[in-house]
Subunit: 157 residues, 2 copies
Amino acid sequence: MTEPVEIERKFLVVGQSWREGAEVDLLSQGYLPTTDECSVRVRIIGERAYLTIKGPTIEGARAEFEYPVPLAHARSMLHQFCQGRMIAKRRYSLRHGGRLWTVDAFEGALAGLLLAEVELDHVGQEVDLPPWLGREVTDDPRYLNSALAEATAPPED
Amino acid sequence: MTEPVEIERKFLVVGQSWREGAEVDLLSQGYLPTTDECSVRVRIIGERAYLTIKGPTIEGARAEFEYPVPLAHARSMLHQFCQGRMIAKRRYSLRHGGRLWTVDAFEGALAGLLLAEVELDHVGQEVDLPPWLGREVTDDPRYLNSALAEATAPPED
């Protein structure tokens, strides 16, 4: 069997030059109350919705199981189970160096926070870093979306 | 929208007369590490697998969101996320008084425990109780499957 895993790098963002030509989606997501061992995320992106189970990051990779769910179910789960653990953000998608990058612009309590992410095919893969990247935060647990969902302000450097 | 809810009554079982004519399935299920607010269950029944989110029981009803998942995903989630929170049982299905009843015969640490369940269409619905029912445990939190999954022996009366 192919084990579904997520391998990604995550960076702060400087400047605005990444915005040019990027596509944007509105994301609303929340987390069920789990322990640190895994996260259970409900995400609405446009008119589509997903339930996603993620394990802890181990040596740069993370098990990820994602399933589409009816939009009405997702809204109900967010309302019933995710109060106080929600994130709203705009996701900008763009290509750089042959890879898909996303820049998430957070809203609400985290307004002003910009996080860039790129998914890799394997741990340690070389990737062409765009010039608008700031500090890498891949291994900083404060920038996990599940942690940000409970934060009252962007993490301070 | 129709809100998916589960309304059920749960009983201990006396005697063996319920076994006659019942169909049996092997169930293996585990729980992701969540708080008491909700449960996230991974279940394998025969060759099928499901991911199920349930809320707390409020006035006899419980929100329930269930999705089929690939068998290999379920096996992997049970292995990665549910150690120490697993249940194996045989589920006997039978009809009584025009309704579907199940009797779960637990294995492993809970061997000997038998729990009968019936699903209702609405809270307070009249239901014909079969003669092999013992004490009702609908509101006893020790008999929640998510609690039993962490128990080292059947609850004592």
